[in-house]
Amino acid sequence: MSQKVLLNAKELNIILHRLACQLIENHNDFTNTVLIGIQPRGKFLAVRLMQMLTEEYQIKNIQLGQLDITFFRDDFRRGDKPLEANSTEIDFVVEDKKIVFIDDVLYTGRSIRAALTAIQSFGRPDEIELLTLIDRRFSRHLPIQPDYRGRQVDAINEEKVKVNWIENDGEDSVYLIEKENTES
C-alpha cells in the first residue's frame, strides 16, 4: 500500500483559515446560521472550524450540531458489512435557519443526499450549503457540488483520500492512499 501526502499540517491550517473567512463573508456573525458536521468524519472538521471562528475571529455563540445519516443511506442491506450508526446531536431549531453541512471528503455525493433527507426530520431550513475539505472531482454519482471547498483532488476509484486530525489520528494531514482491499 503506497501513500502520498496531499496536504501537510501547515497547508491544512491555511486552508481552514480560508474556509473560515469564506464562511464569515457569507454568514457575518452566524445569528441565523448553524453548522452541522456529518458523522462520522465531518464532525472533526466542523469542531475545528467552530474553534477557529470563535477563538481567532471572535464570533461567539455559533450553533454546532452533528448529524448521523446511517438510517437514511441508500445502501442498507446492499453492502458486505453492516452499517454502524453514530450519534446525532442537534440541540437547536433548524426551521428557517441557514445550514452549512460540513464533511471532510466529498466523493459520490450519496452521503450528502442522505444528509439532505435526514435534516428534514428536524424541520424546514431556509437554505443548505455544503462545505467540504476535499472535493474528489469526476467521481460524483449525483448532481451535488460543494459551496466551499478546501482542495480539489483528482483520484481514481482505487484510491482513498484519508483526512487525519490531530485530536483523533495524532496528526493533521491528508493522504492519498492506493487501496488494496480497504473500503473507500
Binding site: F76, R77, L83, S87, Q120, S121, F122
Partner: protein, 308 residues
C-alpha cells in the same frame, strides 16, 4: 461487533452478551430518532413485516407496529380471533400463506411455548418472538434491562428482584436470562405456589418475604397476577395476595434506600402495586413503554440488516 449473532430473536437464551450491548447501542440512536419532530427513518422501506398475534395483546402489538412504521416497513396485521385458525388451519399453513405474499419478517405472539422456534425451522423469514406462552418474551426483557441501564447507569452488579407470578410469566424467564447475561444478581419473590420448583437451578435467589426482597434489591420488577393462565387457585384471595406481595408507598418509605419500581403492564392497580407507587418518581413504567419502541426498532433494524 456490528452484527447480531442470530438470524431470529426467539429468546434471550439464544443471545450473547455482545448482542444485547449492540441492541442497546442501536436503541440509543433510535431513541434520539423518535424524539425528533419527524420520527421516521427510511431504512426498511423495502421490507414487509407480518405481525401475527395468536393471543391478545395491546401494548406489545402497538409498540411493534409503531416501531415497524417508524422504520418505514410495510406492515400487515393478523389476529387469531378473526382468522382461519378458528377454521382448523395449522400454524405452518397459516404462516406459509402469509409468506406467499412476500413477507420478509414475522413478529409472532403465540400461546404455545416454542412456537417461534418451531416456525423458524420450517419457514424462510426472520422471526421475532413477541411472547410464546409462559416461555419467553425477549423484547420485554431487553427493554426492561435498557430502562435499568438508563436509570442506574448500568445493569452489571445491580440487584434485581422479580415479584409476583413467576410461574406463568414469560417476562420473568426472559428477564432472568437477560439480567444474568449482563452480570446482574437476580431474585424472585412471590407466594411459593407461584414460584416454579427448581428455579434456583437457574442461579436465582428465591425469597418469599417481600420486605426482605425489597431491602436487598436496587430494582423491583412487579409482575401482574395472570389470572387467565390459572386453572386452579394459587392463593386464597386477591386481598391476601395484595397484603403479602403488594407494594405501597408506606412499604417503600420504610426501606433503607430508594429503589426503582418497574412493571411490564398491564397494571392491576391496587393489587400488585398501588396507584401512588405507580405514579411516583420511583416508578419507570412509562419510560419502559417509550423504550419499548426504541428497543423494537433496534431489534427489527438489526435483524433486517441480515436479510439478503
Amino acid at each position: 461487533m456490528s452484527e447480531l449473532s442470530v438470524d431470529h430473536l426467539l429468546g434471550i437464551k439464544y443471545l450473547k452478551e455482545q448482542d444485547i450491548q449492540l441492541i442497546f447501542e442501536t436503541a440509543d440512536h433510535f431513541k434520539e430518532v423518535i424524539n425528533r419532530p419527524i420520527k421516521k427513518v427510511p431504512s426498511l422501506r423495502d421490507i414487509t413485516i407480518a405481525n401475527l398475534f395468536f393471543e391478545n395483546s395491546t401494548r406489545t402489538k402497538l409498540s411493534f407496529e409503531l416501531a415497524e412504521k417508524r422504520l418505514s416497513a410495510d406492515v400487515i396485521n393478523f389476529s387469531a380471533s378473526q382468522s382461519s385458525v378458528k377454521k382448523g388451519e395449522t400454524l405452518i399453513d397459516t404462516v406459509n400463506n402469509i409468506l406467499s405474499m412476500k413477507v420478509d419478517m414475522v413478529v409472532m405472539r403465540h400461546p404455545n411455548p416454542g412456537a417461534g422456534v418451531f416456525l423458524s425451522k420450517h419457514i424462510n423469514a426472520s422471526i421475532i418472538n413477541a411472547g410464546d406462552g409462559a416461555h419467553e418474551h425477549p423484547t420485554q426483557a431487553l427493554l426492561d434491562s435498557y430502562s435499568i441501564r438508563e436509570r442506574l447507569g448500568e445493569v452489571k452488579g445491580k440487584n434485581v428482584v422479580i415479584v409476583g407470578d413467576i410461574l406463568h410469566s414469560r417476562v420473568a424467564l426472559s428477564n432472568i436470562f437477560a439480567l444474568q447475561l449482563q452480570g446482574a444478581n437476580v431474585m424472585v419473590c412471590g407466594p411459593k405456589t407461584l414460584i416454579p420448583k427448581y428455579i434456583d437451578k437457574l442461579g436465582v435467589k428465591v425469597e418469599t418475604n417481600l420486605r426482605k426482597a425489597l431491602n436487598w434489591c436496587d430494582v423491583a420488577n412487579m409482575l401482574r397476577v395472570q389470572n387467565e393462565r390459572m386453572d386452579i387457585s394459587y392463593f386464597p384471595s386477591t386481598r391476601e395476595y395484595t397484603q403479602q406481595y403488594g407494594v405501597n408507598a408506606g412499604l417503600l418509605e420504610s426501606l433503607d434506600k430508594e429503589i426503582v419500581i418497574m412493571h411490564p403492564g398491564p397494571i392491576n392497580r391496587g393489587v400488585e402495586i398501588t396507584s401512588d407507587v405507580a405514579d411516583s418518581n420511583q416508578a419507570i413504567i412509562l419510560n419502559q413503554v417509550e423504550n419499548g419502541v426504541a428497543i423494537r426498532m433496534a431489534v427489527i433494524y438489526l435483524l433486517a440488516s441480515k436479510i439478503k
